[in-house]
Symmetry: C2
Subunit: 492 residues, 2 copies
């Protein structure tokens, strides 16, 4: 058979939009889409010396990336000291005397103990993650909740996202329904599309500070039943992304009961559990704790998977890729499948695992590193809170913009009263009006923030998600204000 | 509706083997299955002081994990020095004068330059990986192959496995055929099962040093056509895992032509490209180079994705999770989908990306770190080669065992002439005979090596994959020999 005779045009390229996995085409991911590409382009142009842009730097307020260049969240010194010793253990051996001039004694002791436990951070670990670290995660959960946790039910992961993908990929069959909040972090819709499961949106109530309404959940379930979609799982993000809302205990109990009544698996994305602005009045409560506090029948039945991460909180170590999930009430036969799938991806990054260890067992009062650790973490959290409040107030005072205050997390999700003319123009451009708004904002100010339509929102409402991570917040907000006023008068 | 009235037994647990994603049940992964669990159990028992085992340590020869405890491959000093500075940049700032007593000047310069380029290693990077590093990967490929490479076609990944999963997940539709070598690294069968694609095995020729036979490939394609299975992709592992065979250029050209003729996407797993024992006579040649050397029509048509990793080679940094893939001749519309899917998983671990940088641009002759780097890498490679040859010879001198010598990689795959009685007993136990052999080997010696059936093999043949990473190889081989002789006489 001659290749010429067949002609390459018939068969090549083999991979086209119509020949690849069709589920991939359904995936959408707004946080790093057109907007992010355009922001990258501007960044490179500025680096190459381009002068005719109306801004001199790009502010990437589109992703919760606390340690990125230009932001002021510095890594926690204790973390980096411990990890640098693990990376180059010779500092604790041949060069120990010199290292002692730099590293506090508790850092060296911690690194030595981890080094002995783990060995080289360049070696694969067991697929579930290092046992000693999982034991310390279990202890952390027990102390947080007051209920026991079993290290064998804990899996270390390459960030919470990897855990969420793994679990959704195991739990859901094609066509299964998975309830997700709207607005939501788009990882969920993207992953559901990839596994050909069906997102079942439930709307959070903006007017009531983005609260979770029990009737809305019930309606979503009833609608799915009418459509013959099996409701397999319910995702809750608490504290909320992008809303910043923190769930009260009563609402959480109702959720757990609902899962019990309807046979639904609960997936709790709790990666912002440390980012709480008013812990006395609006504390973070874990779903594990709420579940365990329910009557035995419920407490020992409802299947819960909860996710945590080193990427958020006050550590902000997203680039390291570390996190964990805890499975509660999953059957042994399913846990075996979870183990098998974790094995295929070998193991999470080892210094990500170490990050989880440092997250769950920070320095203790009295140890040499404690004061600095305390200062650094307190400062980061208070800056986040101050900026969040400042931004919320300023957004609320703008005509055509309103903003629910955040209880936690690291975002604000202001609402834009979009002018009809802007809506019409965006429609012409084939875009949602808030996408046009976000792209125009980037063009005018260099500020990169994601349109509400990337997270989902009630029909005919328009939002913008901005992170509360930016230093020089006064100037940052002033730019958004000026742009917003110009935009509103342009489309009046 | 009362929860009691419904009864929990009806609906709970929600997740069972019959309700979860059925593709997950199809996934098999021998490298970390029953054997690995048993090895873990023994390790913990030994750590807890158990004395009545017939061995005093577990030797995990089941995974290519060069830096694991008990093995002698030490991390490359240059790598760890650079990364420790990036982890704690204060060593290059406030503590620079002290650090200069420890770190060579080129290490400090390299770390400073990377720090300036990347910023914090705790921040997310762009989804494709840091642009500067992708540029240097392109340069490495150009220098290796003598043909241009475009950084925009290069994606940094969390190890080669993550890249393979991503690409197979995008390229293959349900039911698509993907040709895989037998024996093969089980990542491929596992991933194909997960994406519901169909593995199309082609047998490597053991008698001819595990060579790739063109006719076998053609037969596999013809068989698939008869079964109405579209042949979408062809995976080649070169150098081979578990075979250690290194492909000659002629065979590679035939493969590329075959892909052109039949409209097949080529996936080249080239993670062992640096592990070559006889570079003069059996050099590694990349598929990119072979493809580009073909007539224009082929060179600019056949779609190739090639994978590389920091986990193998002489770096052996598996725990860091770093690697890359390069796409050649993929259409723009498909590259957009690749970009989108990379975005969903945010970014590969940053120090894994740095590892890729250190892999593709090591210290240069004349720089202060060069001599040590050269000594370390040469020693690692020569140890690997010596052990591989030593083990191969000893295995070949054993009755009932034969072993093809390896050209590279880090494994041997000796064949066991399994006694009929052992086959019958294994059948009774519901196991493949070589799985029984491997479990018995572990029980008797503490050596954990994977049975050939985990990698696939010709029917009625039996193998064992052992890594050539173990120090004290004399003692290690002696234990296998003793066990083997006992096993053979037991089942004679």
């Amino acid at each position: 058979m001659s290749s010429q005779a067949n002609g390459s045009s018939k068969r090549h390229p083999v991979l086209t939009k119509s020949s690849i996995n069709p589920a991939v085409l359904e995936v959408e991911y707004a946080v790093r889409g057109e907007l992010a590409l355009k922001a990258d382009k501007y960044t490179h142009e500025l680096a190459d010396g381009k002068k005719d842009l109306p801004f001199d730097k790009v502010v990437t307020a589109n992703i919760g990336n606390p340690q990125q260049k230009g932001l002021d969240q510095v890594p926690i010194t204790y973390w980096r000291q411990v990890i640098s010793l693990l990376e180059y253990p010779n500092l604790m051996e041949e060069h120990l005397e010199i290292a002692k001039q730099i590293y506090p004694s508790d850092v060296i002791a911690r690194a030595k103990s981890l080094h002995e436990e783990i060995g080289s951070v360049g070696a694969y670990t067991v697929s579930k993650g290092i046992l000693g670290i999982r034991k310390r995660v279990a202890k952390f959960i027990e102390e947080r909740d007051g209920y026991p946790a079993d290290p064998e039910n804990i899996y270390l992961t390459a960030g919470a996202s990897a855990g969420v993908s793994q679990i959704l990929g195991i739990a859901l069959q094609k066509g299964d329904g998975c309830m997700i909040p709207i607005p939501q972090y788009p990882l969920y819709t993207a992953t559901l599309a990839y596994v050909s499961a069906k997102p079942l949106p439930y709307y959070l109530s903006e007017a009531d500070n983005w609260s979770l309404n029990h009737d809305t959940l019930v309606q979503t379930i009833e609608k799915a039943k009418k459509d013959n979609t099996p409701v397999k799982a319910l995702v809750i993000i608490n504290p909320g992304n992008p809303t910043g809302a923190c769930l009260p205990e009563d609402a959480m109990k109702q959720v757990v009961q609902l899962c019990y009544d309807h046979g639904i698996v609960l997936m709790a994305d709790e990666v912002y559990q440390y980012n709480i602005f008013d812990p006395e009045n609006k504390p973070f409560i874990s779903f594990k704790k709420v579940l365990r506090s329910m009557p035995k029948e419920v407490a020992e039945t409802v299947e819960l998977i909860s996710f945590h991460s080193i990427s958020k909180g006050v550590s902000g170590e997203c680039g390291r890729r570390g996190g964990y999930f805890e499975c509660t009430n999953l059957s042994d036969e399913v846990m075996e499948q979870v183990y098998k799938m974790a094995s295929v991806s070998l193991c999470p990054p080892v210094t990500g695992q170490v990050g989880v260890d440092l997250l769950v067992s920070p320095p203790k009062p009295g140890e040499p590193s404690y004061d600095l650790w305390k200062t650094e973490t307190t400062t980061t959290l208070s800056h986040l809170k101050e900026r969040s409040q400042f931004m919320g107030e300023r957004f609320n005072s703008l005509p055509g913009m309103s903003c629910q205050p955040a209880d936690g997390a690291m975002y604000l999700f202001p609402r834009i009263e979009m002018p009809q003319k802007a809506i019409a123009e965006a429609k012409k451009q084939g875009k949602a009006a808030d996408v046009m708004y976000a792209l125009d904002l980037l063009d005018a100010t260099g500020i990169c923030a994601v349109a509400g339509s990337g997270f989902g929102q009630e029909p005919d409402t328009y939002h913008l998600r901005v992170t509360a991570l930016c230093p020089g917040v006064e100037n940052y907000v002033a730019k958004i204000e000026k742009f917003h006023k110009d935009f509103m008068s342009k489309w009046q």
